[in-house]
Symmetry: C2
Subunit: 482 residues, 2 copies
C-alpha cells in the first residue's frame, strides 16, 4: 500500500486541478445561457471531491519516488484523468453512454482527435470548449512527461534525450517541476499567438481559441463537422500548418532558442529530417493529386500541404476527403500516420528520431557487410549511439507493430472490415484521429463502431500516447515481484 | 572486369546446368507426343550455349572470391537463372509475353508460387513440370545459399548461424560445396519420399512428382487451377502439411539428426517456436472458422491446418478461399505471411529466429526498465546474442517493412486497389504466393495486373528471396568505391 501512496497523492492533485478546469466550460455555458453549465458543475464537484479526498488522505509525501512508482504514476494518472474528464460528456445533453464519453475523453487527452460526436456545429459551446481543453492539457502533459520522465524510464530509446548524464530516478519530480514551468509558459504563449492569428484570419473568438488549443496540441478536434475544411480559407490553413509544425518540434529547443541559442533548433538533425520528410511528402502528394484530379498545381499543393501536415503530425484535421484522391494517396496517408513528429513535442507515432536511429543502424550494417573488418558506429546528431539505444528503439518498433497488429486483429474479430480495422488500429495507436474508408475516414465518425471496438481503441490510444512500454511494463510479472 | 570474371564463370556453369535441366520437361513432352518439346529444346540450346560461352571464356578461376564478389555473384546468378528459365514460358504455346514469362519464372525460382497462368489443368505437361522443377531448384538453391553464403555476408542477423567461428570469406565456395552435397542428397531423398506418399494417397504419377517438388520447396505451384483443393483428400492434405513443415525446418539439423544427433532438432528453440506458432494459429483460426461458418470443429481444423501451414511456410497452396472465412481470417493470413519458417530452410518471410532475437531484446529492454542497474543479455538458443546481431536483425525488420511499403505504394500508383496492392506487395516480398481480395486472392491470378506491377513484384520476390541486403548493398556507392 505504501507503494501507491505517492501515486494516489499526485492523482489527487491532478484530479483537483482537472475539476477546477471543468469550471471554465461551465462558466462559458452559464454566460451563454446554456443549461449545460450544471453538467460541468456536477462533474467538477465529483472530480474535485475525489481529488481532494485522495490528496488529503495521502498527504505527507516527501517528494522522492522510485522508478517503479514513476511507471505506475504515469499510467494511473492518465487513466484517472481520462475517466473523470469523461464525466461532462456522459452527463451532457448529447446523451452519450459512458463508453462513448470515455472514448471521446481518451481521444482528447491523448491528443488523438478521433470523435464520436456527429453534429458538432450544434453542440453546446461548453462541451466543445471542454474537448479543446482536453487536447490542450493532454498536449502539455505529454511534453512535460516526454522531457522529464520518459528519458529516466529508458522507454524506447528516449534515453538519448536525457538532459544530463546523471540519471538518478530519485530526482524525477523536482526536475520535472523546473522544466515544466518554462515549457508551460512557452506553450501558453504559442497558444495565444495562434489564437490571435486565427482571429485575424477570420475565425470567431470561440473558434479561434478552441482551434488554437487543438492545433498546438496536434490534437485535431474541431468545432465543426467539416473540420478545417469548413472555413475554406487559405490564411487559416497556413496558420494551422505553421502551428501544427510548431507543436511537432522538440520544445526544449525552443527554450534554448529563447535563451539566445537558436542554432540547436535548426541544426538539430531530428528537426531537419522532419522538415525534409514533410516537404517531400507534400510535394509528392500534390503531384499525384494534380495528375489524378486534373486540378491546378497550386490548388493541389494547398490540399496536400494541409492534409499531409495534419496526418504526419498526428493532428487529424481535414480539409478534404483524401480517400477521393485515389489509392496511392490513401496508402500514403496510412503509412505516414505512423511516422509522427519529433520527440519532446505533442505528436505521437513512432517519431522521427527512432527512424533516424534505425536508419543509422542500417547504414552501419551495410558498411559492415562491405568491410567486415572495419569499425563503424551508428550516430545520432553527430554523437555515437549506444548499442542499448539501438536495441531499445528496435524493440519499440517491434512492439509498436505487434500492438498495432493485435489491435487490428481484435477489431476485425469484432466485425470491422479490413480497411476500417487496420486504419482504426493505426489511428488509435499513433494518436492521429481519422482512419481510412467510408466509416472512420476523414469524412466519417467512430460513433457506428461497436462498444467493444471503442474500448479496444481507447486502450490503443493510451498505449500509443504513453510510448507502450510505460503501460505494458506493469503487465510483466517482474514488475510486481521486486 | 577482373571483378566479374569468377562471377561470369559461375553463372556460366549455372546456366549450362539449367539448360540441361530444360531437357527433362522436353523429354516428357516428347514422350507424351506434345509439340512443346521443341520449345524446351530451343530454350535449352540457347541457355546451354550462353552458359558454355560464359564458362569457357572465363575459365581458369582459382576458387577464391572476395566478399564483394560473393554479393554480386548471388544476385547476378539468380537474375540470370530467372531470365533464362523464363524462355520456355515465353516460347510456349500459351503465348505469354516476356513480362508474364519472367514473372512466372521469378515466382518459380524464388519459390513464391504466384502464378499468371489460368487453365493449368489443360496446360502442356512439360510446362507444368518446368514450373515444379523451378521451385524445386530454387528451394535447394536457397538452402545452400542460406547455409553456406549468407552467414558470411552477415545478412540480417544470419551470422548467428555461422557453422564455425572463423569467418574467412575466402573459403566460401569450398565450404559451400562440402555442405551442398549432403544437403542435396537429403533434399532429393525427402522429395522422393514425398512423391511416393502422394502416389499412395491417390495422386497420378505426374501430379505426385510435381507436387512433391513444390511441397518440399514450400513453393506452392500446382498442376491444377483448384490447387490442392481439387484433390479433396485428407490424406493428401496431411502429407502436404508434413512435407511443408519438413521444408520449413533448418536443414542442417536434419544432417545432424541423420548422424545420430536427434537432440538438436527438437531442442532447437527456433524449431520449438515454429511449432508453437503453427499450432496456436491453426487452433485459433479453426475456432474462428467454426464459429463463423457453423461447420464442425474437425472440418474447420482440417481447413485451418492446411491453409495456415501453407501461408505460414510461404508455400501458397490453397484448399479453400479463406477470404470467405471473414475479415479476421483474412487479416490473420495477411499478418502470418510475413513470419515464414526457420532459417536454413526453403521458406522466406522474416523467419522465426528474427522474431526470437527481437523478442529477446524486448525482454531485456523491459527488465532493464525495471532494474536500471541490473545487467541482462538477450539470448538465443541459450547463448548470448551479440549486440551486433540485434542491430542487424532490427535493420532487417526495418528494411523489410520499408521495402514492403515502397512496393505497396508503387503498386497503388499503378492503379491497384488498397487490398490488392498491400497483399501483392506482401506476398511478393515474403515469397508466399496468393494475395488477398478477389483479384490476387487464393481463388484469383496475377494475370490481370498491369505489366509494370508484374516487374515491381518480380523485383520484390528477388529482394525477399535474397534477404534484401544481398541485393540492396550493390546499390550503395560504397560497394563500388573500394
Amino acid at each position: 500500500m505504501q507503494f501507491f501512496r505517492p501515486i494516489l497523492l499526485i492523482n489527487g492533485i491532478l484530479l483537483t486541478t482537472l475539476g477546477v478546469f471543468m469550471l471554465v466550460p461551465g462558466l462559458v455555458d452559464l454566460a451563454m445561457g446554456n443549461p449545460d453549465w450544471k453538467v460541468f458543475l456536477a462533474a467538477a464537484t465529483v472530480t474535485t471531491f475525489v481529488g481532494a479526498a485522495l490528496g488529503i488522505s495521502n498527504w505527507g509525501f516527501s517528494g522522492d519516488i522510485t522508478l517503479r512508482q514513476a511507471f505506475a504514476l504515469t499510467t494511473f494518472s492518465w487513466l484517472a484523468a481520462v475517466t473523470f474528464a469523461a464525466l461532462p460528456f456522459a452527463f451532457s445533453e448529447l446523451g452519450m453512454g459512458f463508453t462513448n464519453a470515455f472514448f471521446e475523453s481518451m481521444s482528447g487527452l491523448t491528443t488523438t482527435g478521433s470523435t464520436i460526436i456527429v453534429g458538432l456545429d450544434t453542440a453546446p459551446p461548453g462541451l466543445l470548449l471542454w474537448r479543446a481543453l482536453l487536447q490542450w492539457l493532454g498536449g502539455i502533459g505529454i511534453i512535460v512527461m516526454a522531457i522529464a520522465i520518459l528519458p529516466m524510464l529508458q522507454v524506447g530509446g528516449m534515453q538519448i534525450f536525457r538532459l544530463e548524464s546523471s540519471d538518478s530516478s530519485q530526482k524525477i519530480l523536482p526536475r520535472a517541476k523546473q522544466i515544466a514551468v518554462s515549457i508551460i509558459v512557452l506553450y501558453v504563449g504559442f497558444s495565444i499567438v495562434c489564437a490571435i492569428a486565427y482571429g485575424f484570419a477570420g475565425m470567431s473568438g470561440f473558434d479561434a481559441i478552441t482551434h488554437a488549443m487543438t492545433t498546438i496540441a496536434t490534437g485535431g478536434f474541431s468545432t465543426h463537422d467539416s473540420s478545417m475544411g469548413g472555413f475554406d480559407s487559405i490564411s487559416i490553413e497556413l496558420i494551422s500548418i505553421v502551428f501544427m509544425v510548431v507543436g511537432s518540434l522538440p520544445f526544449v529547443l525552443y527554450l534554448q532558442a529563447i535563451r539566445g541559442k537558436v542554432g540547436p533548433l535548426y541544426r538539430d538533425s531530428q528537426v531537419q529530417w522532419f522538415f525534409a520528410t514533410l516537404a517531400t511528402l507534400v510535394f509528392l502528394l500534390a503531384l499525384y493529386q494534380m495528375q489524378k484530379t486534373s486540378i491546378e498545381f497550386s490548388e493541389a499543393l494547398r490540399h496536400s500541404a494541409f492534409n499531409v501536415t495534419s496526418i504526419l503530425t498526428g493532428t487529424g484535421y481535414a480539409t478534404e476527403n483524401y480517400m477521393d484522391w485515389g489509392t496511392f494517396a490513401a496508402i500514403t496517408m496510412f503509412c505516414i500516420m505512423f511516422i509522427g513528429g519529433c520527440a519532446g513535442s505533442t505528436t505521437c507515432g513512432l517519431k522521427i528520431f527512432r527512424f533516424q536511429v534505425i536508419f543509422a543502424a542500417l547504414r552501419v550494417q551495410i558498411k559492415r557487410m562491405i568491410h567486415p573488418h572495419g569499425v563503424f558506429f551508428p550516430r545520432y546528431n553527430n554523437q555515437k549511439i549506444n548499442p542499448d539505444v539501438v536495441s531499445s528503439v528496435a524493440s519499440y518498433f517491434f512492439l509498436f507493430f505487434a500492438c498495432f497488429s493485435a489491435l487490428a486483429l481484435g477489431l476485425s474479430l469484432l466485425g470491422l472490415d479490413t480497411i476500417t480495422a487496420f486504419s482504426s488500429a493505426g489511428t488509435a495507436i499513433a494518436n492521429v484521429g481519422p482512419g481510412l474508408g467510408d466509416i472512420v475516414g476523414p469524412a466519417g465518425s467512430f460513433e457506428p463502431l461497436p462498444d467493444a471496438a471503442k474500448w479496444l481503441m481507447s486502450a490503443g490510444m493510451l498505449l500509443g500516447r504513453l510510448e507502450l512500454f510505460t503501460v505494458l511494463v506493469m503487465f510483466t510479472p517482474g514488475f510486481w515481484r521486486i
